[in-house]
Every structure is written in structure tokens, then in C-alpha cells.
């Protein structure tokens, strides 16, 4: 896995977001020393609790915001704010909410032609053809019908596909997808994921795939990272992590994922039932200075050490590691 070259990396990235109003003076510890590597021709899935910092991380990688600690590297070189324009040409992001990320006042044609022009890869005469081409690639056919539509004339799923097409228009080396297909029904979702997989295989596109849908991550990604409260708690090849999770949170996540093939899901007596009772607990407190393992307060295996000392990184096989006191 790690044999392929790293293209976009987050190295020990921290993000603190100061609060305002009543909570003035306090900060949200959105990211705590996160390491993440995207490689050419590979797809990295990022899953985790809602509010764990996935979108924040993606935003930092896209240079939409600056980290408070650590650095973002592109092709091994740290990037600075001044490199923004160049960076946007190489790294594109699909924002989480397709309803707010498309300007209602512009037509699809305009929305898609802007990156084509800005990144200067398309002669003006070719614009229309390229826009139609993009629409077809994301399955918005007949493309001729869609090119003059306003966003409000599109369904959520169609909007998501416009957002993806806009990102692809820049012909990026890296695509950061923040739940890019969450509003699509499974069949369309599949089409899009297949398209992205094809780009990966053909053009060596590197991609970050943020999702709550672990099954699709398994189907589509090469590697997977699991986030919890601003920490990456486990990373590894997707099959290994989904079939043999190591970190208690990963295990919980997988157990909680709906799986119609699991025979007696609703009456089973797996560890989920215990969870059910005690685990309607408060989410992790991101306002407090992180100490120890962030999952300690919910972990069934927690020891006193867990909540005071940061767990060490334990590597199982190449590329599969977790941070947990369970592993020596």
C-alpha cells in the first residue's frame, strides 16, 4: 500500500476553533495531531462519529482554512497560504452540503465552466463541449437538458453530482469528497462511485472519501481511517479494518452498521445491546484539553491509564495501525 507515492499529507495537524458569545475564551479541539496520507491512485475512506472533525480535516487539506498546528504537505513540500490558487488547481473538494454549495443564481453551465476556465485547461471554444462531457460523466443525461438548469431545479442527488462534476472539471490530482454521495439512492450512488474508481484506475486520482456508509467504503476504497473526537484511532487497508477491526470504537462502528445479511440483528445479544443502554451518553467533550484516549469514557475495556495517558500507536501489519492501550 504505502509503496505508492504520497501526494497530499496531513502531518500532526491540530485545529482549535475559538468560540464566541457565551463561551468566549474556550476553544473546540476539532483536530488533535492528525496524520493522514493520500496517495496517487488510491482512495482513502474516512469514517467516524459525526462531529469528530472529518469535514474540518478535509477543509484543511483543501487549504480552505489553516491548521493551528502541524502542516499540510503536497508532494512532500509543505504548502502555505500563498500557494492557494495553485493548490486549488491540484486539490479539489466536494463540500458536504450540495444545497448550500451551489449558488442558486447561476446556471449549471456557468458553475461548471468556471473551473474549466480558471485552471486554464480548456480553450473557450471547447467550453460547452467540455461541460456537456462532464455532465454525462456524472450520469446527468441528457446533458443538454441539464446544462441550462438552475440548482433549484435539481434534486439533492443531482446537485451532489453537479458538485462532483465541478470538482472534476479542474482535473485535480486529489479529490476530497465530503460525503459526496450521501443523498443519492444506492443505485446512483454506485454509478458515481464506479466513475470515481475508474478515474483512480485510469488517471491515478487520489481521493479522500468521507462517509457514514462503511459498506460503500469497503466496496470502493483502498484504505480506511477511523476518526473519533479529533483523533484518528485506526487506519488500515479497507478489508482488514472492516473485517477485523482493532480499535474498540471501530468495532462499535462496524457492529452498529446496518447489515441486512446479519441474521438476527434486531434480537441478537451482541455487545450492541449493552451499548444501547449505557451509550446514549454525551458525545466526547471537545472543549476540554484532550488527555489520554478520547474514547475512554465510552470504552468497555477502559482502564484508568486510558483516560490519563495518550495511547501508543500499534502497528499490526504494514499500513494497519491503531491507537489503543489494548495492544502492547
Amino acid at each position: 500500500m504505502s509503496s505508492t507515492e504520497a501526494i497530499l499529507e496531513a502531518v500532526a495537524v491540530t485545529k482549535r476553533i475559538p468560540l464566541h458569545g457565551r463561551d468566549r475564551g474556550r476553544v473546540v479541539h476539532a483536530l488533535n495531531g492528525v496524520d493522514l496520507t493520500l496517495r496517487r491512485g488510491q482512495i482513502l475512506a474516512l469514517v467516524g462519529e459525526s462531529g469528530s472533525g472529518k469535514s474540518t480535516l478535509a477543509r484543511l487539506l483543501a487549504l480552505g482554512d489553516l491548521p493551528t498546528g502541524g502542516e499540510i504537505r503536497f508532494a512532500g513540500k509543505p504548502i502555505r497560504r500563498a500557494d492557494r490558487r495553485a493548490h486549488f488547481g491540484r486539490v479539489q473538494m466536494v463540500l458536504q452540503d450540495p444545497f448550500s454549495s451551489l449558488n442558486n443564481l447561476h446556471r449549471v453551465r456557468y458553475i461548471l465552466s468556471r473551473p474549466l476556465r480558471n485552471f486554464g485547461r480548456t480553450p473557450a471554444a471547447d467550453l460547452e463541449r467540455r461541460v456537456l462531457d462532464l455532465l454525462e460523466r456524472v450520469n446527468l443525461t441528457p446533458a443538454d437538458d441539464f446544462i441550462d438548469k438552475y440548482p433549484h431545479e435539481l434534486s439533492g442527488g443531482q446537485r451532489q453530482r453537479i458538485a462532483i462534476a465541478r470538482a472534476l472539471a479542474a482535473e485535480p490530482a486529489v479529490l476530497l469528497g465530503d460525503e459526496p454521495v450521501s443523498m443519492l439512492d444506492v443505485s446512483i450512488r454506485l454509478d458515481i462511485l464506479n466513475l470515481l474508481a475508474e478515474l483512480r484506475n485510469r488517471d491515478g486520482l487520489a481521493m479522500l472519501y468521507i462517509t457514514h456508509d462503511i459498506a460503500s467504503a469497503r466496496y470502493f476504497a483502498d484504505e480506511i481511517s477511523v476518526m473519533y473526537a479529533g483523533h484518528i484511532v485506526e487506519t488500515g487497508p479497507v478489508e482488514q479494518v472492516t473485517q477485523d477491526p482493532k480499535h474498540p470504537y471501530t468495532k462499535l462502528l462496524l457492529a452498529a452498521s446496518p447489515d441486512p445479511d446479519r441474521p438476527t440483528a434486531s434480537s441478537g445479544s451482541d455487545d450492541l445491546d449493552d451499548l444501547d443502554e449505557e451509550d446514549l451518553a454525551e458525545p466526547p467533550n471537545l472543549l476540554a484539553e484532550p488527555t489520554g484516549c478520547p474514547f475512554a469514557h465510552r470504552c468497555p475495556h477502559a482502564t484508568p491509564t486510558c483516560s490519563t495517558e495518550a495511547p501508543p500507536t500499534h502497528t499490526f501489519t504494514t499500513g494497519h495501525w491503531t491507537r489503543c492501550w489494548l495492544y502492547p
Binding site: 486549488f88 454549495s101 449558488n103 443564481l105 447561476h106 446556471r107 453551465r109 465552466s113 441550462d148 470538482a167
Partner: protein, 305 residues
Amino acid sequence: MRLRRKLRRPRNRKVAVGLVILVALVVIAIVGPVLVSALLGQSAERLHAGGPLEPPSGRHWLGTTTAGEDVLAQLVTGTRTSLLVGLTGGAISTTLAVLLGVISGYSTGKAGALLTAFVNIFLVIPGLPLLIIIASYTQGRGGWIMVALIIGLTSWPGGARVKRAQTLSLRNRDFVQAARYAGESKVRIVLLEVAPHLAPLIASTFLFAVVGSIAAEAGLNFIGAGNPNTVSWGTMLFWAQSQGALLSGAWWWFAPPGLCIALIGTAAGLINFGVDELSDPRLRARGQKTSRKAGRATAAIAEAS
């Protein structure tokens, strides 16, 4: 661009009425004085064109003033001055409001904070008294341009505050963020992503700034801080009031200028009702499919700009 399409085919009856009034007044302002002198042989400045305070008649459709001036001729000529003052003052005020509001809303850091403080401080200063003080400084010199200038320079803060607030709420919206990722320049983001969302606000600020300027000019004249040599609705009211038109029962002299000001304000207000729709294709598209061609043209314009 959308405005043009909108103007061509007002959907809403209120908007239609407003536009008709406005266009009629503009036409009067442009050709009215010529028509009045050609058809009725009257001019706004000529004293003793008729006897003092003649009621409306075939010769003087709106009667005469105490100095025997033809009221209709004055009203028509006054339309031009008042509209010029209104449009110029409104344009200056709106431009300042948009510039200061959008820039102070969009730019972060020290410059933005400074601009914001500047806008806020001006908000606290009462506009009309300020206007009067500055106007009395010029003492009616400089004609309508000066009046328009002063009005424009003193009336922007309210509009700026609204626009600043709106820009603030827009600047971190996802679609602006997305435009940054799409490689758009700052100027283009402000002009083509943020500003169009302010369009209805800008339009309504402009409309009301125009009306406000006309009314302010009238107010200035009323307290004797205007330029009495120009013929405008404001000076008409000044003369009518100071020569006791109301008491003499000369309604034909006192009423028309006031009604004209109210009329143009009403037109602006009615149009404003429709301006909201203008901003949002969601409201526009209802029931009417915009033609493909129009869409293409729009995109082409946006592309070229």
C-alpha cells in the same frame, strides 16, 4: 441582466403599476418641459404668465402661483430636477452604501474592522441635521448637483449597515467557499457570487435612496437651505408654503408637488415588492419556464463580464 428580463415582463401587478408610474415620470422629465412650452406655451421660470393664484383653467391647467407662474410648467420642469437630484443622490448614496457595506463585510482583519467602526459611527449621527448643516454651508450654491451630492454623502449609512450584515452572512456560505476552490478571484467572488445575492437589497436601497433624496431636497428647501433658483418639487413646495398657498386655498399649487413625491415613492415601493422575486430563480421559475435562449444569453453575459 435579469433586471432587463424582469422589466420586460413584470409578473406581478404591483410591479407593473410601479413601473408604469416610474416610466411615466421619467418620460415627463425628459420631454415634458419641451411639450409644455410647445403645446401650452408655458415656461417654468416666467413670472406673470397669468394672474396671481388663478385656479386651473384651459390656459393654465394647474393654475398659477402668486407670482403668476404656470404651476403645470413648474411641476413638469420640477420633475426633471427632482428626478435628477433623486437619481444622482440615490446613486451616490447607494454606491457608498454598497462599497462600504460590502467591503467592510467581506474583508476581514484590520481594514474591515475600521470600516465597520466608521459605518457604525455614521449610523449614530442623525442624518437630516447633518444634511442641513452641510447644506447651509453651501448656501444653495452649485445647483442641483451640489444638493444631490450632499444628500448622497449623508444618507448612505443605513444602507451600508444592511449590506454589511448581508455580506457577512454570505461571505462564509458554502457556495462562496466552493467558488474559492473553483479558483475564482476575490474581485470576481465579490462581484459575481456575493453581489448578485445583494441585488434585491441594492435595488431596493437604490429605489428608496432615490425617493429619500427627492424628499430630502424638498425638506432642505422647506427650511430654506435649498437653492431657490432651481425649479423642483421641493422649491415648489417651499414657495407654495411660504406664499401661503394652503391658506389661500390654492390646492393646485400646494398639492401636486407633494403628491408627485408620494407617487414616485409609491412606485419605488411597488417595484420593490417585485425585486425580491428578481433575486431568486426559485421564485421566478414558478409557473414559467425560462426559455433556453434567454438562458444561453445570460450565461454568455456572465461569461463575458
